[in-house]
């Protein structure tokens, strides 16, 4: 079919603002960022007008010789432990609220409130919880799990800061995935559940034999989203611990950010290279997720 030139012109006129902005602030930085990973380019020099200089894989060699980068990469991988916790909790909570009982709307909305909370506010609030004199210590003391002498600031602990930050990620995330799972659950035909009940299937059997298989697409989507989010975690770390204490919460994107903006040399080349490594890991993990959760039907038992 011949397309009138006026339609084409009109279409591109309407699309122009979006295309220009996407080009300048999304596609160009993706390509130029990848290029910078292979250059020596720092902010101080940038001020003096020196262009980036091609150095091949030198940045990557530097990265893998840097103990801080290796620690941060390790921490990012360790951070993925939040994914199963988050998904299991979100699915379980979705099952709990997916019943016509009075008050369920309040629970659903309440669980979603942390999702619409700024990380800044989360940081303020949770620091009070994690404080030496904070709620968490009070709770543990009153449950008889710790003694007053054993109180410490969770975010200042080399051992616990990591888990404390992860708890905040969990807190901000479970409502989001709960809603996604809820949507999936409501797509399951009721007759299926009823038939299973009549056949004498227990709640547990129904969950594993009906709910989980039918929810596979949702589970895949949610694990994929949360895996990538966990690998890219930055804000929680930045506002709660800034990578400390003793780099115990330093994550890979924290490394990217601090190399580019927190030091004195504004090492954009090295930071971009680190970003590329994280991006590669993210792609690999997404692929793995697909392989794990998107098994073809015939493989099922």
């Amino acid at each position: 079919m011949r397309v009138p030139w006026r339609t084409t012109l009109l279409s591109y006129t309407f699309l122009a603002p979006a295309l220009v902005l996407l080009g300048v602030f999304t596609f160009y930085p993706l390509l130029y960022g990848a290029y910078l990973g292979f250059t020596e380019y720092n902010g101080a020099r940038f001020g003096q007008g020196l262009p980036p200089r091609w150095v091949g894989t030198a940045n990557f060699e530097k990265l893998f010789a840097d103990p801080l980068f290796l620690t941060s990469l390790q921490n990012s991988v360790k951070y993925l432990l939040v994914v199963p916790a988050l998904q299991l909790a979100a699915l379980a909570v979705a099952v709990l609220v997916n019943k016509q009982l009075p008050g369920m709307a309040i629970f659903r909305a309440g669980f979603y409130v942390p999702v619409v909370t700024s990380i800044s506010l989360a940081a303020v609030m949770w620091e009070w919880v994690f404080n030496r004199e904070g709620t968490l210590n009070w709770l543990l003391r009153n449950l008889g799990l710790t003694t007053p002498e054993a109180q410490f600031g969770w975010l200042n602990s080399e051992v616990w800061a990591f888990w404390a930050v992860m708890l905040v990620t969990f807190w901000r995330g479970f409502g989001y995935y709960m809603v996604l799972y809820l949507a999936g659950l409501q797509n399951i035909p009721e007759e299926l559940e009823e038939a299973a009940v009549l056949d004498g299937a227990s709640a547990w059997q129904r969950f594993w034999k009906i709910t989980v298989p039918l929810m596979r697409p949702t589970i895949l989507l949610c694990t994929l989203l949360s895996t990538i989010a966990a690998l890219r975690v930055l804000e929680e770390v930045l506002v709660l611990t800034n990578g400390g204490p003793l780099n115990s919460t330093y994550t890979a994107l924290m490394y990217v950010f601090s190399k580019a903006f927190q030091g004195f040399d504004f090492d954009y080349g090295l930071a971009s290279a680190a970003g590329l490594v994280v991006a590669a890991v993210a792609l690999a993990l997404s692929y793995l997720n697909f392989k794990l959760f998107n098994r073809p039907e015939e493989e099922e038992a």
């Binding site: 902005l21 659903r108 506010l121």
Partner: protein, 292 residues
Amino acid sequence: MSLTAASPARAARRTVAWRRPLRTALRYVLLSLILIFALFPFIWTLAIALTDKTAGTSIYAFPQSLIPARVTLHNFADVFRTFALGKALWNSVVITTLTVAGTLLISALAAYPLARFRFPGRELIFGAILATLVLPSETTFIVNTLTLKHLGLLGTHWGVVVPTVAGAFGIFLMRQAFVSVPAALLEAARLDGAGELTILTRIMLPLTKPSLTALGIFTMVTTWNAYFWPMLVLSGAPDKAPMAVAVLKLKGQFNYDPFNIAAGAIIMMLPVLLVFLAAQRLFLRGMEGAVK
């Protein structure tokens, strides 16, 4: 077969009969505990914000600090006086308004031809826009700050807003909405001699108000809450920082006053919370729509 199948079913129904109230109670207990976990930080912060600090209670005097002995609104006034919170609040309003307006405008404009016209390159452009959802964006913030510096936008509100207004989410959402408008309406308008811009503003936008509202609310909430990007762009211009950045700066200040910080936190939270509660159905359904 029928015998063996019937008896477990009857047995199951019998157990359900006495178990049901217990199960329901257990469900409520569990859900309440999770609700406390989800909302506790807010409740505590609200309690601290309402506490009269001259009474001398520590915010950590637990559980007394959960129920303020002497309620006051003094902290709210105080945080405006001592921390120039009004300025930060204004910055948040400016940045959020510009971003919401820009996102709606750009998304609607771009979505219209993608939804209603056939033209060379359409599939490619639509594909490229959707691809931005999955492309690895780890290094974009570095290059984007450099670009803003070149454009002289670093340290300005426009610098925070402009790079964020064209997004796949908005364009995709509006395209889906436009596709569903009946073609007959458009034909009729064209026969009456209406131009495409008139059709977009007089027919398409009024008919897709729910989608526009949803996009506007989503954008408002994310922009109001955003921390990292405004922090980065405005790191050299602290007087232009929105509340999400300012609140954390308050916390780092020497004369750190938890009562005022709590009041500031509540002020910042309030608009988003009100919008969320008002548009809750839309929010949760919008999310659910994402998997369907």
